[in-house]
């Protein structure tokens, strides 16, 4: 063995056998002394003198032992241990500083790790499948669309599935909520509709049975009908882990499916934000989605996400090259519409593969930017906390100059001192990180809940993993260096005699004027201002979003989502059911009015139809909703002219339509719309405009109200239409929820229990990322103000404490108290003013990055800028005035005696 390695191994072993080693060393020396004693006795030395003589020749056994122990230790490790205990003692001695350090770091690190865990769960963590790095997600690209198209129609996918130049397997999937028949009615279970190669592409062996293969993905399924694969948790909760589950039938959407296999717990499919319990073959989609049929929808239905596994040894570039050459043949094979193909070709339509190691989720496009923005906030906040601690440490180190100088004089090397000071900051950083990590799971879970709202089937896995620990460790190390290095370098840089001469007393002006601590504090003020401005902008934007006129009154409205697509009633019978259900609901206590709609405003889903007038054939796109009578009263949408729908407004009595103000103006400029007719859909029929109502924000709260129209549900041709009951209530919604569930169970035992949400809650959920950003940034801004105040106060207080005698002398020589206040206050005033100015410039430059998140607010909003600067200025002034006033209250005599 290499001598150094041998030495290391022995030392390493000795670390763990310390007690035994020390005992053996003592024994070895003891033996030597005993032998010496015997020798002396043999040589005739009298018994009485033997001991003294031994001691004289041998010296102090304890000292030799110490030297031996030292020999066996790791020098660095031992030093580190000593530094840690020394630093811990120091920190314990200044509990105020330690508390501030811990609280600020905990907030900053806790927030940063929480946001990182969201980013990790949504964007970074690879799918828990073998060789995830070979996976690719396919999207289509064309020059006339900004966004990449991650949705595919079935014909595209089927054409792509057949081509295997670059890919071993190509699979399509979509998330779907499935109605599973249980002993107590239908239950909604999150599931996925997957193509034949899905499981093969993900390479995860099943726990029981087999997984779905291309032979299951046929029209009508295999010989025994459609097979399904279930998750481990579904197996546990529905089958109580029965070992004979394979072969059993479950009823999904009123159709029998045979369980062919159970997937292990770790398998989550290809979407990291969903946890499907049931996987059904793609060809079963018409059954699952009945009465709809996306497969029959052909190239009009874009509903599939595509994930593929590359052939071994095929790079992403090679896969892309193969996809590019395939794009045109696939286009021609899949699309029966020559005009469509031509259009796509002129816009350079092509398939593109990107890395799919972490699967695919639609949530990514929605949350990536807000999360990255918030992460930036956190980083600034962390930097601010570190700078603040660095400033405080520096001020404190100045008070410790004498101690350090003495240690240097006793022969400690500068490196050794820096090491000790860094250990101190490392200790703070590690403790801050530990508490930060301790709070982060709660924080990240509540943030995830805030972001996802009540879209109950989505899931953000924020659990800790190796990546999180590496991140936290990096943060701790960076924080320790940021906090400790500059103060340590500075504290040990001065020449020795200077230090001892100056001591801790009246410091020379030259020293006070040092730029570095002021620059740090100034930077801190600047960063704080940036955070405050960012928070101000986001909060203003959010308030404006809430204040914006929606066109309806969401307060007191609850939505009750009814899934009627799988029960037995249809047509007129179903309509009568709705009417009866509405009447019964209206009799519940606290209910003021009830109606139904097909599209809940601001839910994100939209339906558009083009209409024209009889005199003008120009097609106009209208945003449609299908509603029941009483809708406008329930939603408090003003009825400007005409009359509401009635339950007897059926097609037989002539088709009716209600326009909103914008649509009426667009279609019938300068005329009275009521009584006029429009045409377009249903094809070949004319619809009479019976009313004009107020405009309503439709697709998104951020977009203005579009031209829109309403059709009565009594006119709908859909066989098993699902509507949402819209209920205006007085008082809390909770009692209604259980009443409505009971009512639904009594009146329609087959349907899944209806989910109730409040309109205001839906509204919050529709702008969840804006809410998260505003809430977090305001919180950070508050913290930033607080931290900056502590920093300004702390550094000034330290500096002033060291000038006590100087101030005493000044006052003894006739300086007024006001002058003293001015003298001390000036120190910080310059720092704060400089920081504010720099921060304002930086905020003006950086706030543009927020522009895409802002609603009705300019990123350079002068009010926000001014108020932020004023707020920070006030905080800085207060924080600096306290030490200044305290200094002015010094009694000259005591101050000078204090020397």
């Amino acid at each position: 063995m290499h001598p150094h390695l041998h030495e290391f191994a022995l030392r390493w072993k000795s670390l763990f056998r310390r007690r035994r080693m020390e005992r053996e060393m003592a024994e070895e020396l003891e033996f030597h002394q005993a032998m010496l004693r015997e020798k002396l006795l043999r040589e005739g030395v009298p018994q009485t003198e033997v001991n003294t003589m031994t001691r004289r020749t041998f010296g102090d056994a304890r000292r030799w032992r110490e030297r031996l122990i030292e020999l066996w230790q790791f020098r660095a490790l031992e030093n580190f241990r000593r530094d840690v205990s020394f630093s811990a003692r120091l920190l314990k001695k200044s509990p105020g500083f330690t508390a501030v350090a811990l609280v600020t770091l905990t907030i900053a690190i806790g927030a940063t790790t929480s946001i990182f865990s969201l980013i990790n769960g949504l964007l970074l963590r690879p799918l828990p499948v073998p060789h995830a790095d070979q996976l690719a997600v396919v999207h289509s690209d064309r020059s006339d669309y900004d966004a990449f198209g991650y949705s595919f129609c079935a014909p595209f996918f089927r054409a792509l599935e057949k081509r295997h130049q670059a890919f071993q397997d190509v699979a399509a999937f979509t998330n779907s909520t499935m109605q599973v028949r249980s002993s107590s009615g239908s239950v909604e279970v999150p599931g996925a509709i997957v193509s034949g190669q899905f499981f093969r592409a993900l390479e995860t062996p099943p726990l029981l049975g087999r997984y779905l293969t291309p032979r299951d993905d046929q029209p009508g399924g295999g010989p025994g009908g459609f097979g399904v694969v279930i998750s481990e948790s579904f197996w546990r909760t529905w089958f109580n882990k029965a070992p004979d589950v394979v072969g059993q039938k479950i009823i999904i959407a009123n159709a029998p499916f045979t369980v062919v296999g159970v997937m292990p717990k770790r398998f989550i499919g290809a979407d990291p934000t969903h946890r499907p319990e049931i996987y059904v073959p793609l060809w079963a989609e018409p059954v699952i989605d009945a009465p709809y049929n996306n497969i029959a929808g052909g190239y009009h239905a874009w509903w599939l996400a595509i994930i593929a596994r590359r052939n071994r040894g095929v790079s992403l570039e090679q896969a892309n090259a193969a996809l590019k050459t395939d794009s045109n043949p696939i286009l021609e094979e899949a699309i029966p519409d020559a005009q469509w193909i031509k259009d796509a070709q002129t816009h350079h339509f092509e398939f593109v593969a990107e890395s799919g190691s972490n699967g695919f989720s639609y949530l990514r496009s929605r949350f990536r930017k807000p999360l990255v923005a918030v992460f930036t906030f956190c980083t600034v906040m962390l930097l601010l906390a570190c700078l603040n601690l660095a400033s405080l440490l520096m001020a404190r180190a100045a008070a410790r100059e004498r101690e350090l100088a003495t240690r240097l004089a006793f022969g400690a090397t500068r490196r050794r001192l820096i090491q000790q000071l860094l250990v101190e900051s490392l200790l703070i950083a590690v403790m801050g990180t530990a508490t930060g990590i301790a709070v982060s799971p709660i924080l990240s879970r509540s943030l995830a809940a805030l972001l996802l709202g009540h879209s109950h089937n989505t899931f953000l896995d924020t659990s800790l993993d190796l990546r999180m620990f590496l991140f936290a460790a990096t943060i701790a190390a960076v924080a320790a260096v940021l906090v400790g290095l500059i103060p340590a370098l500075r504290a040990t840089s001065k020449n020795l005699s200077d230090q001892i001469k100056d001591g801790s007393h009246a410091t020379s002006a030259r020293q006070r004027r040092r730029l570095l601590p002021r620059a740090l504090m100034g930077l801190e003020v600047a960063l704080a201002l940036m955070l405050v401005v960012g928070a101000g902008l986001l909060a203003t934007s959010l308030v404006r979003l809430y204040r914006t006129g929606l066109g309806f009154d969401p307060k007191g409205v609850v939505n009750l989502e009814l899934r009627m697509d799988k029960q037995s009633l249809d047509g007129n019978a179903l309509l009568r059911w709705y009417q009866k259900f509405g009447d019964s609901l209206a009799h519940e206590p606290g209910v003021k009015s009830v109606s139904f709609d097909a599209v809940t405003p601001l839910s994100g889903s939209t339906t558009t139809i083009t209409y024209h007038t009889l005199s003008n054939k120009r097609e106009r796109t209208l945003y449609m909703n299908t509603v029941a009578p009483e809708y406008f009263r329930t939603m408090r949408i003003p009825m400007l002219e005409g009359r509401d729908f009635r339950w007897n407004d059926t097609s037989a009595s002539g088709n009716k339509i209600i326009l909103n103000r914008t649509a009426a103006k667009m279609l019938f400029p300068g005329q009275n719309a009521v009584g006029q007719h429009v045409a377009g859909w249903p094809k070949g029929s004319q619809l009479e405009v019976i009313a004009v109502v107020g405009d309503v924000r439709y697709a998104s709260i951020k977009k203005g109200a579009p031209a829109g129209a309403y059709m009565p549900i009594t006119q709908s041709e859909q066989k098993k239409a699902s509507y949402t009951a819209v209920v205006r209530i007085d008082g809390p919604p909770a009692p209604l929820a259980s009443a409505a569930r009971e009512l639904a169970a009594r009146m329609a035992p087959d349907i899944p229990s209806p989910v109730m949400t409040t309109m205001s809650g839906d509204l919050d959920a529709s702008i969840s990322s804006e809410r998260m950003m505003a809430m977090l940034s305001v919180f950070f801004a508050g913290c930033a103000l607080f931290i900056t105040a502590i920093g300004l106060y702390g550094t000034l207080a330290y500096a002033t404490a060291r000038r006590t005698s100087e101030i005493g002398i000044r006052m003894a020589l006739g300086a007024q108290r006001v002058q003293v206040v001015g003298l001390i206050f000036r120190e910080n005033a310059w720092v704060a003013a400089g920081g504010l100015l720099a921060g304002l410039v930086a905020a003006l430059l950086a706030s543009r990055a927020l522009a895409s998140f802002l609603y009705g607010t300019s990123p350079r909003d002068p009010w926000v800028m001014t108020i932020s600067a004023l707020a920070l200025g006030t905080v800085a002034t207060t924080a600096s005035l306290i030490p200044a006033i305290r200094a002015a209250l010094i009694e000259p005599i005591t101050a000078i005696r204090h020397e």
Partner: protein, 114 residues
């Protein structure tokens, strides 16, 4: 570190002590006291190894893998730590004694110069 008994004080270099220890152990395993005694006797009471230097040197050699230590019974039946040369230790002793021969011859040449 090592001084000549009754001679003018002055330490010999540390390397020499290590060489002497290695040489002492050439005859077989010995405990620390034995090593000190052997050097003392063999040098005809000229060299006396101080305990404060002996044990750190022994432990250093052990750490470096030149010696191997084992606990055993001493001649008067007490538990004692015995040191033994390793193969590396033997190699090192060989190299050191060659170096020493050269060095002492050189010193002799200088001292005997007329």
């Amino acid at each position: 570190m090592i001084r000549e008994e009754n001679g003018p004080s002055g330490d010999l270099i540390q390397g020499t002590l290590e060489m002497l220890i290695l040489r002492a152990l050439m005859g077989g395993p010995m405990h620390g006291y034995g090593v000190a005694e052997w050097i003392h006797q063999t040098s005809q009471q000229v060299l006396k190894v101080e305990e404060g230097a002996l044990y750190p040197a022994l432990h250093r050699l052990e750490l470096r893998g030149l010696l191997r230590a084992e606990w055993g019974a001493s001649e008067n039946n007490r538990r004692a730590k015995f040191y033994e040369l390793t193969a590396q230790g033997k190699k090192r002793l060989h190299a050191e004694s060659q170096r020493w021969e050269k060095l002492s011859a050189a010193i002799a040449l200088v001292m005997q110069a007329s």
